[in-house]
């Protein structure tokens, strides 16, 4: 089965049935241009070297693969190793993609960058890359998220980005994506849209996965170097699915490595109560791609919920849908309460505050580890640090940081 899995999208931009382009005609030329340029950049050694130079010197890669001794002991089974993406500059994996796409924009001669953001991590990462490469930058962010993530708004503005409030629809990530696409429709000649997750029309899911694949490549080498073998299981959280795609992809053809994606179980399986698209959704179209999506029977996008703003998205990257249907990756979910407990446990046992997205993966990794033996290894993508969530966690647990 694994040998037959596609590594790159076909001529129609699809991984199996999933992906493609469901966007207005106005964007097709820009997507064609991006595909052509990206194909060239893939083969251009100078481009790849420049990308990796920035990842090393600026982002601080390679990130550590850390043996979490106390979490391991607590789970009482397999060794748990954390891939510390939280130690990257800006505190999450998002910067890998923003740097890569900003370099691609430079290569294409674009003059301006736009992005969408939910919790603000991708917005901050893109504002960072734009400061570094001297691009004017506009970040679309739902009004509701601006209220919840004031610190990230301040950071983006401090780096010279313009944060544009989105007041339509649910005023969260999904509306920010819509608004960024609308901007792009009118400015497509000189503007590049740095999408933040492995979603959207072809070639975005492919590009984002590739720029994030540094996570899995490093993890694979580090795991072999540190433990003498490949992990038994690899775990990552899945919202749109960029950290997971980057972590999973380099392990896809290692047939003995089990791969598990963790979605947001929210308040439970009822519609509107979660953001577990692959668990509770069905194939449909959202934001330019055919993939699993949470919709009503008329195709209207459903409301979603997660305590983690970064997982609070009604769609998922098409490659995840492909991996799910092929059986290569197993997708499960962790609910709000469990994730909050995971945040607490990880903070207290390891002295590392995980982002709430990351806490979902940590919880699942401990469940898995507890059923394995001490000779097995579980690698977790520790996608980001928890500072940004402290206000929200305090609010949910009835404390105040004001």
């Amino acid at each position: 089965m694994n040998a037959k899995l596609q590594s790159i999208p076909d001529a129609m931009g699809r991984f199996g049935l999933f992906g493609g382009r469901y966007v207005p005609e106005t964007l097709i030329e820009a997507l064609n241009e991006l595909t052509t340029e990206y194909e060239k950049a893939c083969k251009d050694e100078a481009f790849q070297q420049e990308f990796h130079r920035y990842l090393n010197e600026y982002v601080g890669r390679p990130s550590r693969l850390y043996f979490a001794e106390r979490l391991t002991k607590e789970a009482g089974g397999a060794k748990i190793l954390l891939k510390r993406e939280d130690l990257n500059h800006t505190g999450a994996h998002k910067i890998n993609n923003s740097i890569g796409q900003a370099l691609l924009a430079k290569r294409m001669g674009k003059k301006r960058i736009i992005a969408e953001t939910g919790a603000g991590q991708h917005g901050v990462a893109t504002a960072t890359a734009c400061a570094l490469f001297n691009f004017p930058c506009r970040v679309y962010m739902g009004e509701e998220d601006i209220r919840r993530q004031k610190l990230n708004v301040f950071k983006m503005q401090a780096m010279g980005a313009e944060v544009c409030p989105v007041t339509t629809g649910s005023r969260t990530l999904r509306d920010a994506v819509n608004e960024a696409m609308r901007d792009w429709m009118s400015t497509v000649g000189d503007t590049h849209y740095i999408i933040g997750s492995a979603v959207g029309p072809h070639p975005f899911p492919w590009i984002v996965r590739d720029f994030q694949s540094v996570i899995g490549k490093e993890s694979r080498e580090q795991c072999i170097a540190q433990t003498g073998k490949l992990p038994k299981v690899v775990v990552a959280s899945v919202g749109g699915g960029s950290n997971a795609a980057g972590m999973f992809f380099p392990f896809i053809h290692d047939k003995d490595v089990e791969i598990v994606g963790v979605e947001a179980g929210g308040r439970g399986p009822k519609p509107g109560g979660n953001a577990a698209t692959l668990s509770h959704g069905a194939p449909g179209i959202l934001h330019g791609a055919f993939s699993y999506v949470l919709q009503d029977t008329d195709g209207q996008t459903a409301d979603v919920h997660s305590v983690s703003a970064g997982l609070d998205y009604p769609g998922v990257g098409p490659e995840h849908s492909y991996w799910k249907d092929s059986g290569r990756v197993k997708y499960t979910n962790v609910n709000d309460e469990e994730a909050l407990a995971g945040f607490d446990l990880c903070s207290k046992l390891e002295g590392i505050l995980p982002a709430l997205e990351t806490a979902h993966a940590v919880v699942e990794a401990m469940r898995i580890a507890s059923k394995l033996t001490k000779d097995d290894v579980v690698v977790v993508c520790f996608s980001g640090r928890g500072d940004k969530d402290c206000y929200e966690i305090a609010r949910v647990t009835g404390e105040s940081l004001e």
């Binding site: 106005t26 097709i28 820009a30």
Partner: protein, 272 residues
């Protein structure tokens, strides 16, 4: 003959240009949609576009998006739209008013509702064609076949940044009329008709016998006056929806009068 083709035949014989208004179904409510469609049909509309509200319409500007949100907030379902248009179609037929309806609908909706079920529903309701703004020509081949079998037109969009070779591919898959987008961007009113558009229209004219209709940003009689010598019709959306937006406050009769006046001024600018 498909009703859209027939409508353009009649216009051609009368040496007239098409006025194609757009309204969002269910805004302010589905009963009003029926009234508004009849008002437009009786005031010079050649074809009427019915927008199927969608929660995430990326090609639409703020005016149409807001109309969609209003409609969905009231619980509008696809079945309501199909039923309403079926009723309007019957009423207009009784009065011998020949105005075809075109559904403007996202592929997200068609896919989830079920392609075959949707096409069947459109046929029963009396629609004559579909515009699927988020379905590029490459992805349209499958549904194009089904629509052809059903006798429904598939109206495709050509934009200012569509390369010539690609435009030819679009023209070969298009039926009914060609939706010529005036500017790169989203729907909404704009001040001027770009010079580039007239050149594109002249080029398209040489490539296809299909009628060319211009949309995105068309709101004023002055626009219609410029375009009547270069195109076969104009599509007017946001300018009409803006009037409908006031329905809650101003009341439906006032809105009907306003859009009847707008329709009349556009029709006379197109044909005087």
């Amino acid at each position: 003959m498909n009703a859209i083709d027939a409508a353009f035949e009649r216009l051609k014989i009368g040496k007239k240009k098409a006025f194609i208004p757009f309204i969002a179904a269910g805004d302010p409510d589905i009963e009003s949609t029926k009234e508004l469609a009849k008002t437009l049909a009786k005031n010079g509309a050649s074809i009427i576009e019915i927008g199927f509200p969608y929660s995430d319409p990326i090609a639409d500007g703020p005016v149409i998006q807001a109309a969609y949100t209003r409609a969905l907030n009231k619980g509008l379902k696809i079945e309501h739209i199909l039923k309403a248009i079926a009723e309007v179609s019957q009423d207009l037929e009784k009065e011998k008013i020949l105005v075809p309806f075109v559904a403007m609908v996202s592929m997200s909706i068609i896919h989830r509702f079920g392609k075959d079920k949707f096409i069947e529903g459109c046929l029963k309701a009396g629609f004559s064609g579909l515009i699927i703004p988020d379905l590029p020509v490459e992805e349209s081949l499958e549904i194009a076949k089904d629509l052809k079998k059903s006798g429904l037109s598939l109206i495709l969009l050509v934009t200012p940044n569509t390369p010539k070779e690609r435009a030819l591919l679009i023209l070969s898959a298009c039926s009914g009329f060609v939706y010529c987008v005036s500017v790169s961007g989203i729907t909404g009113e704009r001040d001027k008709i770009p010079e580039e558009l007239l050149k594109n229209l002249a080029w398209l004219r040489e490539q296809t016998p299909l009628p060319l209709c211009v949309g995105f940003g068309i709101s004023k009689p002055e626009h219609a006056k410029v375009l009547r010598d270069h195109a076969d019709g104009v599509i007017v959306g946001s300018a009409i929806v803006k009037h409908i937006e006031t329905a809650e406050k101003a009341g439906l009769p006032a809105v009907k009068t306003a859009i009847a006046n707008l329709a009349e001024s556009l029709v006379s600018a197109l044909n005087s």
